[in-house]
């Protein structure tokens, strides 16, 4: 995971959202809740996927930091930060 580029992270997150969340044409700056009915359950599933991508469990503190995320761009920023902290 740590060797992934920003572009690869974006591709992985977009693929996951299309496949698992059945999002149609997701945009990086879409409000996930407003446009894609994203809810607390989806947030938990996305965090699990991020753990898989990082091959590392997230701490409670790291999970709390995700609660303010609203867009896929913010998701990718979050993943990038977590990856950097694990190198």
């Amino acid at each position: 995971m740590t060797s992934m580029t920003r572009k690869e992270i974006e591709t992985a997150i977009l693929d996951f959202c299309r496949k698992e969340f059945e999002m149609e044409d997701p945009g990086m700056d879409d409000d996930l809740r407003e446009k894609h009915d994203f809810d607390s359950i989806d947030a938990i599933e996305l965090l699990l996927e991020i753990e898989n991508m990082l091959d590392s469990e997230l701490t409670q503190e790291e999970k709390k930091q995700a609660m303010d995320i609203r867009t896929l761009r913010q998701v990718c920023d979050y993943v990038e930060r977590l990856a950097a902290s694990r190198t």
Binding site: F21, E22, D37, S40, I41, D42, I44, E45, L48, E51, E57
Partner: protein, 413 residues
């Protein structure tokens, strides 16, 4: 305030079909829905009973992911029959979401399939998946998963009742839903129950020596309620939903009325949690009639719980005889499909409404030679036409819970 309560829609998933026409075809042609127990690589090799009331036809679900994500198999069944009942009812979205419609829906124990996967993770040597036991798994498996997945799918904001009393689950749903409408707490209630394919239930009854084992090679010949050769119950899967509605509301919108529910009772044996109890059963029959304000002599059909166990059928026959004598026709619908557990009460409600509408008595399947100890009541042995004005559906559950629902044929007013 006491109001009249009518049934204005229904839907079912049963081992003997989906539509009322298909179910009636099985009943009138004597076709069983009991099949060989499917291999599940968990318990089947240990279970002596190799028969199961099976839903073996495809069901096309078109639930979107937003709804699917919190549903285990039992909720799929529940939401499908709920969806069809609501569509069938013709109620508009404004009413459905108004708070005037509630839900009374349950299952025996949520989704055992999902619970099993949680425990697999829990007991796994590999703990990396531990954090995956999360909110979604609980929402899929919890006891009230059927009721709340229905409320979520349709935006229902009225009261929620989620009974989970094994074999009386959905008869309680119908009964408590009836009371909610009768006493003005809701104008309509979507009521029912569901239970998915599950071998743990079979294993429980198998260990209690309550399951049928003598007909493993000929599943259609069991269960055999009241028959001298009966050897136990057959576990089954299924679901059912009925829409109960306040009469004036139904009439005002021109709804098709399938029947009227006029009474309900529920009590407990107050003792042993397993053994059938003649006093408890007799009392719930008596209380149901009292609640409906009808005499025993007015009841034309008793839809018996009749699981096909050795003692249960004897006790039930004696209780029926104590109250009714041998006048009303007695029919055991589980003979056609096995015991659909949490959904049996509502499925039997739908069957009774259909038989009343058609003016038909169908025989208890596999009842060839009545056990002398069950012979004091009026068993239906042959298909025949007859007017049916009032009928009861009685169910009894582990835990000593008994219910009795009383229905009246709809005759236009």
């Amino acid at each position: 305030m006491e109001r009249r309560v009518v049934v204005t829609a229904c839907s079912a998933i049963t081992p003997i079909g989906r539509s009322r026409e298909d179910i009636l075809r099985h009943l009138t042609q004597g076709i069983s829905g009991v099949k060989v127990l499917r291999e599940d690589d968990v318990l089947t090799s240990h279970i002596h009973s190799k028969v199961f009331g099976t839903v073996d036809y495809p069901i096309e679900y078109d639930f979107i992911r937003k709804h699917r994500k919190t549903m285990g198999p039992v909720a799929y069944y529940a939401c499908q029959v709920a969806k069809e009942a609501l569509q069938d009812s013709g109620l508009d979205e404004a009413f459905i979401t108004s708070g005037r419609l509630g839900v009374a829906f349950g299952s025996t124990h949520g989704s055992p399939t999902v619970q099993r996967s949680i425990y697999k993770t829990f007991f796994s040597e590999d703990k990396t998946g531990y954090s995956s036991i999360g909110a979604v798994d609980y929402l899929k498996s919890m006891v009230h998963t059927t009721a709340v997945n229905i409320t979520k799918m349709f935006g229902i904001t009225g009261r929620v009742i989620s009974s989970s009393t094994a074999c009386t689950t959905s008869s309680q749903s119908v009964g408590f839903g009836y009371e909610a409408v009768k006493f003005g707490m809701q104008d309509a209630m979507l009521c029912g129950g569901a239970d998915e394919y599950d071998t743990t239930t079979v294993a429980v009854f198998d260990n209690l020596l309550a399951c049928s084992t003598a007909f493993n090679a000929t599943p259609h010949l069991t269960p055999r309620p009241f028959d001298v050769k009966r050897d136990g119950l057959v576990v089954a899967e299924g679901a059912g939903a009925v829409l109960l509605e306040e009469y004036e509301h139904a009439r005002a919108r021109g709804a098709v009325i399938l029947g009227e529910i006029i009474g309900f009772s529920c009590n407990n044996n107050g003792g042993d949690l397993i053994l059938p109890n003649i006093d408890g059963i007799t009392e719930t029959i008596r209380l149901g009639l009292k609640n409906a304000e009808v005499s025993a002599g007015e009841v034309d059909l008793v839809c018996a719980h009749a699981t096909g166990t050795k003692m249960g059928d004897v006790i039930e026959s004696q209780a029926i005889h104590r109250i009714y004598g041998n006048r009303p026709a007695v029919f055991g619908p589980k003979s056609y499909m096995g015991h659909t557990m949490g959904s049996c009460g509502v499925i039997e409600t739908i069957i009774v409404l259909t038989l009343m509408e058609e003016g038909l008595l169908v025989p208890t399947l596999n009842l060839e030679e009545v056990d002398d100890r069950c012979a004091m009541i009026n068993h239906v042995m042959k298909l025949r036409e007859t007017p049916l004005r009032i009928a009861s559906v009685q169910n009894f559950a582990f835990g000593g819970v008994n219910t009795n629902l009383i229905f009246k044929k709809w005759q236009g007013r």
